[in-house]
Amino acid sequence: MAYSRRSSRTPRTRFTLALLLLTAVSLLVLDLPGTGPLDPVRNGLSTVFSPLRAAGNAVFEPLSNGWKGAFGYDDLQDENEKLKAQLEERKSEEADVKRLQQKVADLSKINGVTIEQQKTKVAEVVSGPLNSFEQTIQIDAGSSDGVKKGMAVITGRTTGKGGAVLGRVAEVRSGTSTVELITQVDLTIGVRTQKGDIGTATGQGQGKPLLIENIDEQTLRKGDFLWTSGIDRTAFPGDLYVGRITKVGKSVDGVPRVVEAEPAADLTSRYVRVVLKDPPK
């Protein structure tokens, strides 16, 4: 096949390239984290694209399911997702018993303190990462459901207790939201151990454990449970199950020990819940 080629490195070509690069860099500068002047434009265009996306999903979902299995796979998958969600909730019960034991001990000393209960909104994960570099998921709950940027997202599909921290709402549109996963680099949440020590858990990337910092690591043991601390100005309510410590490194010459934890949440969960607690401003 022979193709006709018109232009090469002419002044006009260089001018076009410079114009496009300048536009791309301008978009990047305008979309710097925390500024957000392009968010309405992006959300508007994303909304325009959503019918095409919905149509594509309707056409290709059976195809992708067919890729994975045979007839009846949909039902099995749905049942499997329900069981996985229930398992996620059961997994947190053991941790919850430990936490409540500690809580009872603390409450016996202090009067008038109650455990915080939060409303949640059940949502379905409609899309995973769209390319290799993205670490977010899309859920089918948005601002019309009371979801706000910064709210905590946990696994599970019931309205009761249970589930584990999956991530945080990063972007909100009218009917959908983007969720940053707990493993995302720079996503830090306040955590507390069963002994009551408070620290932070920071994501280190997809497939990697959480890094536990700002905590008295002398008291930590492998297998200890972690919950959200819920201290003032944190985006997460307290007492949400985060995970278990998997590694407590050795201290060398006074350098703090490396402490890592495995997130309890199944990051591939199909059903999640948004904790409807206003994030701090």
Binding site: Y3, R5, N57, L130
Partner: protein
Amino acid sequence: MSWPRAALIVVVTLVLQVTLFSRFSFEGARPDLMILLAVMAGFRFGPERGAIIGFAAGVSFDIVLSTPLGLSALVYTIVGYAVGVTTAGMVRTSRWAASAVAAAGSAAGMVLYALVGAVLGEPTLDGPSLGSIVVLVAAVNAVLAPPASRALAWAGTDERDRRQPFLAR
């Protein structure tokens, strides 16, 4: 060059990427059809149109991604231009030429994306291994290069030579 057709190809490719190809992953790496458009546009039409179609593919992908707006546009523009420049003197009679260029251009594009993203503070080097991303995207795009090339040929056809059948281009 029919720009409405080129725009249609970009939109259809975006729908395919978002609703079909992003569902499949290997070790966390996912196919990337949008960079294939940039590479094949540079290969077929030269650096100028390669850069323009690369920019259009990138900015449309940016709208649905959670990464900063303009990151894909910047990288895909450079890729479209660079492929156009480097393949300017290439003999195009081989049936494997398009696939080879698609694989090499896509691999280079993924590395560039990861590096530019890291410079901008994005966690592009903290997810799946760059090696697996490069191998997967290059392999998938090598396979899809011939149909992508034919689709772009349809967009590159002027009204005057529309009589030529689609599959013969």
